[in-house]
Symmetry: none
Subunit: 247 residues, 2 copies
């Protein structure tokens, strides 16, 4: 049985992480939470104190508790779910499909993905904009035999990353981050100069042993960064205490 205070903590945490409660949102006061969870105030207080200690919420007497403004504690997938990220931060996101093509996997790409030559893939090029300014060029491959439902999807209204995130469970992801200079085409699309430093994120996602999707995001270096906070202890890492050395 999960302790109550941890249940409260996880409930609130998930609402923060998912964006249901955006930064600045006022969390129910202790009094309301103890009624909802049928527990004592100290129990609620413990949960909220831990969240405050982690920097996920800010607590102020008389005012209440609020979701902290900084994107604290973001999870793996968030690293490039552009639309969600932008919305969480209160920005407007839009995307445009530049190319959508079904083809067979050629040998070069197949090798890079570690998949079989000739597999059917959906190749997508997509341009993302945040607050009306080009923010990322996305080049994606989706394995159609793993995600057959992608065949019928236009991705006009939901960006591919978000769609996949909702549709397909994954068991492993590999990220590579690089800095590259923009070539002429990229520079034009991203509304920047040729040779400008760009941040590239490459990500391959697997389900079991099969690749689900492979994607490259190219971001203009002057408008984009990756950021994340980490707490060493979060996962309850157990470090074996040395026995018998106590004295």
């Amino acid at each position: 049985m999960v302790p109550i205070h941890q249940r409260i903590l996880k409930d609130i945490e998930s609402r923060i992480i998912s964006g249901i409660w955006p930064p600045g949102h006022r969390i129910p006061v202790e009094h309301e939470l103890l009624k909802e969870y049928q527990c004592s105030r100290m129990t609620v207080n413990k949960a909220l104190s831990v969240l405050a200690e982690r920097g996920m919420i800010i607590r102020r007497r008389k005012l209440g508790s609020f979701v902290a403004s900084r994107q604290i504690d973001r999870k793996v997938m968030d690293i490039q779910d552009i639309s969600t990220e932008a919305e969480l931060a209160g920005h407007e996101h839009s995307h445009k499909i530049l190319m959508r093509k079904i083809e067979m996997l050629d040998s070069t790409t197949a090798t890079r993905l570690g998949e079989a030559v000739g597999a059917e893939i959906l190749r997508l090029h997509c341009l993302h904009a945040v607050d009306g300014k080009a923010n990322a060029l996305e080049r994606r491959i989706i394995m159609l035999d793993v995600v057959p439902s992608a065949r019928a999807e236009s991705f006009a209204s939901v960006p591919p990353g978000k769609w996949l995130l909702d549709m397909v469970p994954w068991s492993k992801a590999r990220h590579v981050i690089r800095a590259v200079s923009a070539d002429a085409t990229t520079a034009r699309l991203l509304e920047t100069e040729r040779g400008e430093a760009c941040l590239t994120l490459i990500r391959q996602t697997w389900q079991d042993r099969r690749t689900v999707t492979y994607v490259e995001f190219i971001h203009p270096g002057d408008r984009f960064q990756f950021a994340g906070d980490f707490h060493p202890n979060e996962r309850g890492v157990i470090d074996q205490p040395s026995r018998g050395s106590a004295s």
Copy 2:
């Protein structure tokens, strides 16, 4: 008046930081502490829980509480411990201190760090090379009031990142990854061209609410990338900086 549980917390914390209680040391049990501080068990428990939440101690029923090893969750820190990483991968790593200077925190930097103007800091510039080729330019600030022992350290034999990892426990780290173009100085030091895309990693590490260190690493984009594998539910950590055998 400082609350009791914070006094207990600070007392224990300072003994851990100072090294009086080394990793693995058994902390007095709650029963002893409540006698020493003349307070209730819940108060002691609160203090110890916070320390456990911060990862400074490990608590185990029946066994007691122990000072945690300083490298909890290595994966997070590995993102930047160049020397360790290089050695693990079988490469030879060297570093050279370019600048080492004690100064007061100016207002611009203080704002960026969220610290008080005028605090004493150690400013370090350091060039890292892997297999004889320049690999990273490190610009670091160490807060001397948080890490007073840094004052006496030359960092000639042990690189600052590794030294801090061994010496100072931390409770939170923030990473920012950016792409920037090399300016003339950076290009010269990194043996690359001016304007070349570089990968910058900025990391700020906290202990409690105090900054321990702030560091920028600038890597040549043609020789470096971050890569890492992730599994769902794991923490979003980019580990294993690998030298770019760009393919």
